[in-house]
Symmetry: C2
Subunit: 191 residues, 2 copies
């Protein structure tokens, strides 16, 4: 997706060989117009797939997810990393290990929002080691919901997230696939 590639090249910063900072349009400051384009791009591919729910995780997944949801006319659920005061009903929960922080978090979704009738698009801003996406598909599995695909804005294709997800039979669909961040430069997969 041309607009996304340009944004990554013009505004992304390589902090380390495995860390790309895109806080000017995705992870801290958000570019709503770009998010709207991303929403349309993904939605166009899944319009005939009877998607019933979008499932993402707070916080940076929410902006792309709501635009996909708007285009497809379906609700968006964001998994919470901490239980909120009003999460009083039964919860689906999964553990998500963070390699960067070396901590494990419980993520959760209220059972009432996901059922075995649902066909889900899982959405996240980044795919690296795949732990967040694995947690989200586990929540869908607990509800008996099917997962049509996992939609990723930026994939670090040099990490093993995609292979972990594909081994389990999931379709991973990323808008920007980065093969390396060597020499402080972003290298995209040629497609």
């Amino acid at each position: 997706m041309k607009e996304l590639f340009e944004k990554i090249i013009n505004e992304g910063t390589v902090l380390k060989e495995d860390v790309l900072k895109v806080d000017s349009f995705l992870t801290h400051q958000i570019d709503p117009e770009l998010m709207s384009l991303i929403g349309k791009k993904f939605a166009d591919k899944y319009r005939d797939k009877n998607i019933t729910k979008i499932v993402t995780i707070e916080s940076s997944g929410i902006a792309p997810a709501v635009f996909i949801g708007l285009e497809l006319g379906v609700p968006v659920i964001f998994a919470r990393k901490q239980k909120s005061l009003t999460m009083t009903t039964e919860l689906l929960t999964a553990s998500v290990y963070s390699f960067t922080k070396q901590t494990t978090n419980q993520i959760s979704i209220s059972t009432k929002f996901l059922t075995s009738n649902d066909n889900v698009l899982v959405v996240d801003d980044f795919l690296a080691n795949g732990q967040a996406a694995l947690g989200l598909v586990e929540l869908c599995g607990q509800a008996g919901a099917s997962v049509e695909a996992i939609n990723i804005v930026i994939e670090k294709a040099f990490q093993n997230g995609r292979s972990l997800l594909e081994e389990k039979g999931y379709i991973v669909d990323s808008l920007a696939r980065i093969t390396s961040l060597e020499d402080n430069k972003v290298h995209f997969l040629e497609e």
Copy 2:
């Protein structure tokens, strides 16, 4: 705003005399179409005010904020409750006390995204005791940015958030103002 009132009446749950649960369309599951309407509603009032940035706080403020940002063609910044790995530059920080959790959190925004040239709409999902909104306007003040107004989706008008903000000279603009949750019913302010 009729669509919002109906949604609150049909789907909101009064948990206690001061707690309204709206997790089916705002705080956990999100209704993108309603968020888009909310975005248009707010944006229409501020189109001629030279707004340059939308400032909100993760996570439930993000969905209404991105639609206001889309309509006005300006970036959205969400303050973080925890520092992320890539927040390596200078930060604006403020303390936010949570009455419900009885804890104080530091919220932060990277200095590079807010300057004295900015004219900001502050956005949040709920206004109750006003602590989150006060934290957000403090961050804007630290940057020297001006705050045009504080846009709130649901205001609990029986709590003191509005008066705290108005005493400091801020304009509070809420789409739904709730005067009481007595008898397990939502009572709106007649306008």
